[in-house]
Symmetry: C2
């Protein structure tokens, strides 16, 4: 028997999870696995980069979950510094370019596209100046740290107030810089409703971070040495010895698009539930380059998160390995923090519920992480959306301190199960004074939402 | 219109939640509310007593959620120091005895029985000696603190290795005593499987707590002054300037039993889903004196937990107030800690699954509370039971450190929803490095359990 040939493009979470799982199920005599990675690192935690830059985590080695040599020792032919430049689905082959510019075609029986995401980069004057950094790759992390090590670096502007933006604001603050976040939205954390985002803003301002909302960055101003010195909006200039770009990402699907593979409205690859690219039985895709079903809205969306990428990889590898697995979609859970302020959301926020054609009630409550009398009981705000009539949970947002964010998991499971907020009020959640008030904050919110729906 | 008469027996969580909710829905012209309490405190957190004794919490006032005068100001006729001594369901009246020994009958239209639980007290020589304490009431708490304040108090024996036992072991340790826990079970925390209980034992021993398992206390030995000086088992004596009884509770249902109300095998009142006592349309019961349905095993059980008592009270008060609410049962969730070791369980442990006629597989994994590279990532062990064939989650146990216990809530919601462990592997739980590894420990356990069930 000749071994089948699996080719993986992109050697990060989705790609290498797929390769590893396929290898676990099929030995080299059954399946030959080749993985191409244009960068020089594999299986690293991009989500950890802000904490490395902030000084909480040693890097970059600690951010690498599995090294190239570990993958190779498991029988995966991993080739770093090799870029895939063309797909030929009709003939089942991938064209690559290596570091010295020579090209080659590699045939496959199974192809995994795991080309990740591309950070957004505004096309404005000065964007390529010395001192302007992205934070997606380990090389980006090294570059920011080199930038911080220079003499006279005192101020940072973070462009974007989403997850990466607020995490990088924390990192810059911890490095002792004065920090300004410039964001186009009305409030930071536009994945939350504005009333909840306002709580994040207040907390960030309390930490000494300047938050400029509703502002487009027009230009990065440079000094005589060509280095960034400030960021300009229509109305003002903000000093910036360092500029960090954290304005989100888009699916990295140029290769797939050029090959005629199906893309969705957000630019991500469209797959079936087994993570096969639609209409292509032998091409699989997962991670930041695909669109996922949001089971609450019923719509596809692009979510760049390592946890989904790992699940996609596991599903793909299981299927290629001869097993059976599917990815049922997401409910839109995300957690983050800025210093000691924890932020969490799942399901739909108000504008998303409206866009999905859903009518809803909202309930917002304040409670504490532990029994009110227990030391370090910290306040948190929980907002819940429930569908009119049915009372089905639609979404939950939490802003608080220690012990707040992971409570969103209760709502994530309830969303997955299609629970009503009335049913949630009876949930048997863990209670003891060090862990929760006798009514967990999520239950308090569910009670208020159930009353708003119209409890008997 | 004459106001209806609601009489509540027992003015703690269940009773006063019921009274408060009924009052919120019906004013004094519609509903007259009288509550009898034989003790001198109302609406207090018994669960907080170990933390008060340990010195984490000021007491006893901070443990009182709502004072008698607050209840009275809301139009509830709360009578402290009055004991209900007889029920007469046929004529709809309650007989009480007041502090000076005089008796009276009070008629009711609705009766709420919230008589709580009675701590178990072994009948052994010396059990009533000076220096032997229970920890159920605020008066108990004061007594323990007085005992600790005496000169020469250096050693404590805690009888019982369950929730109260381990929490009191922590409290005694924090007060600087040398602590021995004497427990009849094979391992402490018999609500866990022995393999998980062994982790708790190891952790307790690491803190310097002596854990004596499989041992019955035979006698409390006293000195010439009549004060406790040691605890004797069949094989040994353990020095004990203080003895704390933490061997569990039974439903306090003498009054109900004498009145012929229906009791279950565990001695608790039997109710319908609206918390009406079975066969008695005008008598309601909730809290530590009732049995609850465990929806996983399908059996009734007695669970003394403030969080259930509060829910029962809300359900009863809603129904008496003219609304509609039910209590669907429990899944058996409980969380606790000993110093920095967190303990959690939900659903069924192995012996409970067998007793319920269920066949199962188990999976035990080790993971961390945060991304492995993030500061303070702490190890945790998660054990999961899943039903053979169906793959339905049956139970989850967790022993770890900071960030471990409340993860059990994910399993509690999954149990409520009847999820399979395979479905759980796709749950969209919150991920960011400060909060979780990219695969949350609960997901890792679910993956292993799904494989044990027989994933394709």
């Amino acid at each position: 028997m000749t071994a089948q040939r699996l080719v993986v493009i992109g050697a990060d979470a989705a790609g290498m999870s797929a390769a590893s799982q396929a290898r676990r199920r099929k030995g080299p005599d059954e399946l030959a696995i080749t993985a191409f990675e244009r960068g020089h690192h594999t299986s690293y935690s991009a989500c950890g980069i802000p904490y490395w830059i902030g000084g909480d985590v040693d890097g970059p080695d600690r951010l690498i979950a599995r090294t190239a040599s570990e993958h190779r020792s498991r029988g995966i032919d991993l080739r770093l510094g090799i870029e895939a430049v063309e797909l030929d689905p009709d003939r089942g082959r991938v064209r690559t370019r290596d570091a010295d510019g020579s090209y080659a075609w590699t045939p496959y029986d199974h192809l995994v596209i795991a080309t990740g995401a591309v950070p957004a980069r505004p096309r404005i004057p000065g964007i390529d100046a010395d001192g302007v950094f992205g934070v997606q790759t380990l090389d980006d992390g090294e570059a920011v740290l080199d930038g911080l090590a220079r003499d006279g670096v005192r101020s940072a502007v973070v462009v974007g107030g989403g997850y990466i933006g607020v995490e990088m604001a924390e990192a810059m603050l911890r490095r002792g810089l004065s920090v300004t976040v410039v964001d186009a939205g009305d409030q930071p954390m536009s994945t939350l409703d504005p009333d909840m985002g306002a709580l994040v803003r207040d907390a960030m301002e309390g930490m000494g971070i300047e938050v400029v909302s509703g502002a487009q960055v027009r230009e990065v101003l440079t000094g005589g040495d060509g280095r960034a010195r400030a960021v300009a909006t229509k109305d003002a200039e903000y000093p910036a010895d360092i500029v960090v770009l954290g304005i989100g990402v888009r699916p990295g699907t140029e290769l797939a698009r050029d090959a005629g593979l199906p893309l969705g409205e957000a630019g991500g690859l469209l797959t079936d539930r087994a993570q096969r690219v639609r209409g292509h039985g032998e091409i699989w895709a997962g991670g930041d380059c695909v669109e996922v079903l949001n089971v609450v809205s019923g719509s596809l969306q692009h979510v760049a998160l390592g946890t989904h990428a790992n699940k996609h990889g596991l599903v793909i590898g299981t299927n290629i390995g001869g097993g059976y697995a599917t990815f049922p979609g997401v409910v839109g859970t995300a957690v983050s923090k800025v210093c000691d302020v924890e932020i969490a959301r799942t399901g739909l926020k108000e504008s998303q519920a409206r866009a999905a054609g859903l009518r809803y009630v909202t309930a917002t409550i304040e409670s504490t992480s532990r029994a009110g009398y227990y030391p370090d009981a910290s306040p948190m705000t929980v907002k819940m959306l429930a569908e009119l009539g049915s009372g089905r949970l639609l979404g939950t947002q939490i802003v608080g301190r220690e012990g707040a964010a992971k409570r969103v998991d209760v709502a994530a499971v309830a969303l997955t199960a299609g629970m009503t907020v009335e049913a949630m009020t009876s949930l048997d959640l863990g209670y003891a004074p060090p862990f929760s008030p006798v009514w967990d904050p999520v239950l308090v919110a569910a009670r208020k939402a159930a009353a708003a729906v119209g409890q008997p």
